[in-house]
């Protein structure tokens, strides 16, 4: 089946700043929000945007991630005419190479893209939390007869130096890129979501691969080169919740955001549902002696202690007398009786038997390797 637009998700990175959470799994496979993995958001967005062909470029510690993606069944991306391909680096007659950068990860899969006969490609990160309909972005791309459309989001001016900044004219056409600028000229940050007209993408990836000086990165190499060449690059301004969960603090914060009733990322809305694997857990059980308030708790959890303002995953046990406050607890972890934890992230299957108190500026990470 011919797809007008296919999606490629870049999911190869390690996510070093997530410390031991990514020791054995790639960042996109890290647990999120009690029942999800981070990549569920990108894959659900793909499905909800009506895209039926998706490739996922994986590299770092990819076994768990590859198994999880499987045939795309969890997101309904396994129907007739649909295509879910895991795209790891591979050996070819020319030799073998790891993915050297974001652009190289796509370049090495040009043959895969060719076979989809697509007109457009949307390139996504596997480690962002947001809901977005890429078909609306494609309509914007077509309306502007754009070569490339970059999704952008307004950020507070004081935070702009942390992002790749995009400057535009009155018609949203991009005039300049600033990579983590000390003096930002705009408050529009790139979300790392790009729609390319495929013929142009193909051409520029090949040119980039032949450029020995290039770092083979979209933000640093491909996009500035296209801008310089006078191509039509547009900024698609996204309104809504979006978060890059690259650090322990931002991962914690994004989970706490789910508890905020005013948070724009409404996972309870039936519009653009976020799909995930079913763990076939029992319904959660809240014991007689438990106290649960202001928390998000997944199936399979058993709560006998106190749980306040926390996100609790499947098969987590909070024993009698334990107090959990402002925490994210990943699947299968146990908080032993009378243990107190606050402002912490507890890794998957960890048994916590001593108190851990973090602070907002220094979230405690309780994990097996620690």
């Amino acid at each position: 089946m011919k797809s007008e637009m296919v999606a490629v998700i870049l999911a190869g990175g390690r996510g070093t700043r997530l410390q031991s959470l990514t020791a054995k799994i790639a960042k996109p496979a890290v647990f999120f929000g009690g029942k999800y993995r981070i990549i569920d958001f990108a894959l659900s967005n793909v499905a909800n945007s009506g895209i039926s062909s998706v490739g996922v470029a994986t590299q770092y510690e990819a076994t768990v991630l590859n198994t999880y993606i499987g045939t795309g069944r969890n997101w309904g991306l396994n129907g007739n005419g649909a295509l879910t391909s895991i795209l790891p680096p591979r050996e070819t007659p020319k030799g073998a190479s790891w993915y050297l950068g974001t652009a190289d990860a796509i370049y090495q899969n040009i043959d895969w893209l060719d076979k989809t006969h697509c007109e457009y490609v949307v390139i996504l990160s596997g480690d962002h939390i947001y809901k977005m309909d890429y078909s609306e972005m494609l309509a914007f791309h077509k309306k502007n007869a754009a070569d490339v459309t970059i999704a952008t989001i307004k950020v507070p001016m004081e935070e702009a130096p942390r992002f790749g900044i995009v400057c535009t004219d009155d018609e949203d056409r991009i005039t300049e890129f600033q990579e983590k600028p000390k003096v930002p000229k705009s408050d529009l940050a790139s979300m790392g979501i790009y729609i390319f007209t495929y013929s142009l993408l193909r051409e520029s990836l090949i040119a980039d691969s032949n450029n020995a000086k290039s770092s083979h990165d979209f933000g640093k190499d491909i996009l500035p080169t296209l801008l310089k060449a006078g191509k039509r690059l547009f900024s698609y301004n996204f309104h809504g919740y979006w978060k890059d969960v690259g650090t322990i603090h931002s991962l914690w914060e994004a989970n706490m955001d789910l508890l905020d009733p005013d948070c724009e990322l409404n996972i309870f809305s039936s519009k653009m549902k976020i799909y995930s694997a079913d763990t076939y857990s029992r319904p959660q059980y809240i014991a007689k002696i438990a106290k649960v308030e202001d928390s998000l708790i997944n199936q399979g959890a058993v709560i006998r202690g106190t749980c306040i303002h926390s996100v609790i995953s499947n098969e987590v046990t909070i024993e009698k007398g334990a107090v959990v406050k402002d925490c994210l607890i990943m699947p299968g972890a146990t908080i032993k009786a009378d243990v107190k934890i606050e402002k912490a992230i507890v890794g998957s299957s960890v048994v916590v038997s001593s108190d851990h108190i973090g602070t907002t500026d220094n979230i405690a990470l309780i994990n097996k390797e620690d």
Partner: protein, 371 residues
Amino acid sequence: MARRILGLVNCFSNANFGPMTEHRSIASTSFLGRYAFIDFPLSNFLNSGIPAIGILCKNHIRSLSRHVGNGAPWTANTKIGQFQILYDEPNIANPSYNTDVANLIENRWFLKACNPDYVVITPSSTIFYADFDRLVEEHISSGARISLLYHHCTGLKHSFIGNRKVYISDRGKVTKMEINQGDSDEGDISLGTIILDYPMLESLLDYASGTSSFFTIADTLNYISPSVLVRAVKHEGYARSFDSLPHYFNYSLEMLNEEVFRTLFQDDWPIYTKSYDTPPVIYKKGATVSNSSIANGAIIEGTVINSILGRGVKIKKGAVVKNAVIGSDSIIDSNIHIENAVVDKEVQVLHIAEVKGTIDDPLYIARGDIV
């Protein structure tokens, strides 16, 4: 080649939950907020490594097929396996003729296509844990033609009504089966589960249809028990026959006792069910929840005590839900008080401040109603 076992879920029973099962079978009725009763026999089959499954559907095929779909949650290998709802179209409007035996005869083609070595038949409304892999092994080494699972229990005056009481010889052979009328409190009760070889099933069907067009499998077993070795196999642990609305209500709440729960839910024996991709449960500020089992997607702002909530239930601020079973996507509005009630799916309790039944006679609110 590995032994081929066919698992059949038998939905033929006279049990009903009154108004709650007017439009659905017990098999597809919700249990513990996220399951349907049929998930238990189907998961027993999958966990026992049984690849071929048939469902003997008595009626309400729409609700049943909506729940089980193509059987994907209970199928380990879609090429090797079979998953088929078996329906007796010619006899559907003719209750006396619409029996499990007639259904199997109508669907003999399915038995032939599966061509199993052994067949396990187990009911959809009697719930228990059973490792059929082990039970089939034991059946084979016993040399019996038919094995029948029974449970020794008390309380028969009020429970397992309509199931068969089993009389067993000293050597473990079934000598007689009769319908439990509640005349004595203690005894051996059939769980409606049999294991037999395929030729035996074929002869059983022939024998049944040659004797009476109204005969059920249980009737036939009773009839042939003097001449065929029907081996009685004692089942230990949890077993309940869900046969009335009060039983449904009480047995559901009983699951809030963790010890009882652990007798049905074994480690490494997941109960598979249809997935709805509902988010986790959100407990808002001011929520009070105690001794309750809650399925995903619920939003709780009020008080929930000793209750079972289905997927996506909303309990608004100031509402109090006590000793209640609330079906999926129902809404209990602010300051409403619900006690001893079974609230079906998609109900909105908005106007009546107090909804109260008793433990023995729970109040029932029908699917989709607004009260």
